[in-house]
Symmetry: D3
Subunit: 244 residues, 6 copies
């Protein structure tokens, strides 16, 4: 056995030392329940939430925090996927089941919920359940063929008056515009289309937003990170316009 | 001379050993004629051909196999290039001369052949020869400026009734959507445009398809591979719809 | 101290040796004034200028050379940024202040100057100054929503008769189409849009062009370099058409 | 609701059609038990196994197939990680627990098992359990500082006579040499070191090998794929040498 | 002029709104003096500094904060460059002049300062000045040809007793191991060499460290970020060992 | 047929126009004989040749130019491949046959020719022919296991007195250090090893060098280009040292 004192394997223990000035990380890696509790706790303390993900599962604790404050919210959901599966390959809480739980737990009002950019294949029963709840869906091909103005008008009608949350899954963009994500789907929106839709949402009563599923390890020249940051900037400009 | 027994150069011979459980590769690398014969033989044995390239030269033996079964076929050809050069820099059979031979050998019916997405510069004589055979051409700029519906309608008219083959050169897509290819051309289709055109081809009598010119060494986050796979998926959905 | 004769640090001196057959580089790295003088001197000797940048600051000495020959020129300026800042983070001459100087020094006629593709945030005063000089601006969103034909028509009206210079900053393209650049901005043009606009500029009296801000270190599979080269090719085709 | 007949969402159903010439895929995505059964079944039919992964979890069914034929085998295990965790974030069978099960189920003889290149941090109890089973460990730093000849000699001693399996996790290489993998660890082997060790293993009684954890979506210019293929080639050359 | 109310250019102003829950950014972009003051202020409040860059210029305010607390410190400086230029292309405070100022201002004790990995060409006068101050230099080629143990021993002798600061410029690594940096130099250290040297520095009286010059826009599969994070981890393990 | 005047296909003709200030390109793409003649003509006019490739086939006309001036030269050849095949997949003159012709035509003296870094598999007959001519070979594994000093000493002995040409195929470096090349081979040199060998060649009578096979389309963050440029810089430093 060749291991010796000069170059041992590092134990995982060191990071558990009370290095008070670095931080105390008491949630075990992979403990989703505890992570959700902590995310909800921190989100509850923020006056106006702008969350930069993480995968889409974080939206569930964020919505829990907001629903406690405002009741069920309207949801504008940009995504390539419906994310209303009951589970993800055996995991109850995960990035594909986030809106099943959000609807089932009454965090969002499905009649004021709209999904934009959906294009991944989906089982008929999942699709049917989602539509049956009252959710509206605009596929990516709808945006391409009918235009951003009509998409924005439909969104405004569905969201209506009352608190609105914007959840922006970066995979709503085509992989050309956002290669840095975990479950890319061909045929998505161009960045300008997403911007043009968001800019037309002026006047809605936004109470928070997130940008999720940006995965730098797959990115190129940071263009996905830049696209995500730009969507948050567009949102901030909506807020700024609302204060004028 | 420093070479010794511990770390010799490997001879090419080992792979020639009769490693029966690994396979026997008897075609010499670069032997195009033998490769074509083998590709045609294997294609002839497939009930419904979905071929994933390879460079575009493989389409010639695939069409040979199909023409023996069906006679001259209609061809829907997505590509940035006309691929009707008589030769490629001195090579008779190569990715740029595939459809010169397919037309000259009567494998396709040029009056039922249409090229979509062409945009590379081309010599006048090559263009004139192609058009004179009866081939229809829709440039990439035609698709951008006149839309996918008109492109699809023209394709349907040209292909008409009878067996149709779909050859999808990934470089029909813009390099933003498909960087992983050998002869990219700026100004190409977005992935959604190719999808939207294919989806409108329901009801044609498809007998096979290929996706060619995907070159992973140039790819980024596998987005080109994903685009190619998605086009094959769209084709499978056409087949599935035809069985319903 | 471990440095020894076998592997010293290399001194910068060697490249200063009079290696006559390699070239004599007498301008110190970072000496902008001397660089501009040399660029202007070389540009003045070219009959029809097609310059491949370099960052956008090189356009200033190029315009100096041309204005001495033709007087103030019309400018068709593709860019994500206005580039009319008075300075860049303390530097007087830099890629963001090039057209402030070009206007202030009378090298271009601002009433015959048009910017296409602008979308980066900008201070109100910079925007107001630019417009007040008479410059016309077509944002990237204008191109997306109103189309390339209208953009080209406006460009033709603004440029009018007389000598026209085309300055193409590659960041006018969306980062999906041109990741290889230093200050990318989301929401930009597709390559085909830029091509379609340039192709409609036939008949203008072009006297030169540049493609700038291509930065290979950020590029992917050379797609940005290819986009830049294609824009120069489109320009050459305009020249060729003018001679027919 | 904008969805219409021209561009519906695709259902997942089409791939379930009996497209007999394409194949029948009856194992549900994510069904690990069924996947393992199928992998073991296919591996059992191969005369001399050279498996190209997949993640490291596939080695478990491969070893099951081999152990049924040969009894507990010696294992030469190149990896950045010990992979003897009892579970992975709640999953019993996964890429980090493969050798816990292989040892616990008696598929490998831990006294004839050696791990080369280990360097990820690890909990003391996992390390202690692994060593207590009789496993030998050569860290990456051992290889760097003591050399490839000593590493190879130790491997030969541990593996001894009798059937030997080689499992090559590509993350044993440094991320510079193998960026295309899911759990990279800095400080790993250079490709030449892995080759130089394998070349010195001539004469061992090899019964199979795998190369796992190559993830093309993270790769660059296919260099990771090339490294993995080269390791399989080195193994084939060992087999060829054994037949001479 | 095509700009209209639907898609105006965004003004830079919105981020200047008092969005109290997002933060107040009162330092103008490019105001180096104010940035240094703020960095020093924040660093002074940290008990044990582990700073993740930014470019190398930030080390100057970090050292100012530490020198006020401890007096002139020993410096272990991993870098491809000497960084003792008096200025960078006209800028007084920048990533290439940081240690000129640190020495000139008495923040570090040059007789207890050592540079490891230097290999970029340098003017003789800059080299001579640096050596004349008492700085020790180990080139990258020294590490490659004499080994990590000798390098570490020299570092320990130079640093001696008393407070030691570790500044790790990621470009000390070869571009193969750290492509994501702004001024890469061929011929650098392998990651394992840097790790092996750091691991041998146990027992020195470390008071802080930084990892600088990681530039994600040039990175690939996050391998540079991972290398930087691993160096910080190695440092934390030194601290943990010191507490045992 | 949809083609119209607004967006025709561009003909290849425009570049054939006499655009005198851009240049006249009279050699047809793919005309190897004419290209070789032109390359030799230009090389003959250079006082001290430092050629930046291109693929390795260009070394043949470069050596023709030099051999006319100096007679058969010594050759120091860094490469992963022997490049002494009689042909490349049917092409007589190509990057794999360059040194077969150089030896056969008496341009190099094979007894003063040495290949460093060879590691690709090779047919026995090609290897035997090369050695039989008198060529010396140092494999990449020789360099790794015996060190750079011994390699350099052997090179000096083989090259001896008289004119020496240095041909540096970038694929001598491992793909980790030089991903941007067309035929990468795993197990190659680190950049520092190549540098350390070149630095030890001081005093040889160099008459020219080339760096070939750098292919930017496969490169990452320009690290391959940087490696190639650094090797040319090392060569220039040898020349500068010779003048001191």
């Amino acid at each position: 056995m060749l291991v010796d004192g000069d170059h041992p394997i590092h134990w995982v223990d060191p990071l558990r030392l009370p290095l008070a000035d670095i931080g105390d990380f008491s949630i075990a890696l992979g403990d989703i329940a505890a992570s959700f509790t902590e995310i909800e706790r921190q989100a509850a303390a923020v006056k106006h939430l702008v969350a930069l993900g993480g995968d889409h599962s974080i939206t569930l604790p964020l919505l829990r925090a907001l629903a406690k404050r405002c009741g069920p919210v309207a949801l504008i959901h940009f995504d390539a996927h419906v994310d209303t599966w009951r589970e993800n390959f055996g995991q109850t809480f995960a990035h594909g089941s986030v809106f099943y739980h959000a609807i089932a737990d009454g965090l969002v009002d499905p009649h004021r919920m709209i999904q934009i950019g959906v294009r991944s294949p989906v089982e008929r029963e999942i699709y049917n359940w989602t539509i049956a709840q009252g959710v509206t869906m605009i596929t990516a091909h709808d945006v391409h063929e009918r235009g951003v103005a009509q998409a924005a008008e439909t969104i405004r009608q569905v969201a209506g008056a009352g608190p609105v949350y914007l959840s922006f899954d970066i995979d709503v963009l085509d992989p050309a515009f956002a290669p840095g994500t975990g479950t890319p789907e061909v045929g998505g929106l161009a960045s300008w289309q997403a911007q043009a839709i968001i800019r037309r949402l002026r006047g809605l009563q936004f109470i928070g937003m997130d940008v999720v599923e940006v995965c730098p390890a797959y990115d190129v020249a940071e263009i996905t990170a830049l696209a995500g940051a730009t969507m948050a900037w567009e949102y901030l400009c909506l807020l700024a316009a609302a204060r004028d």
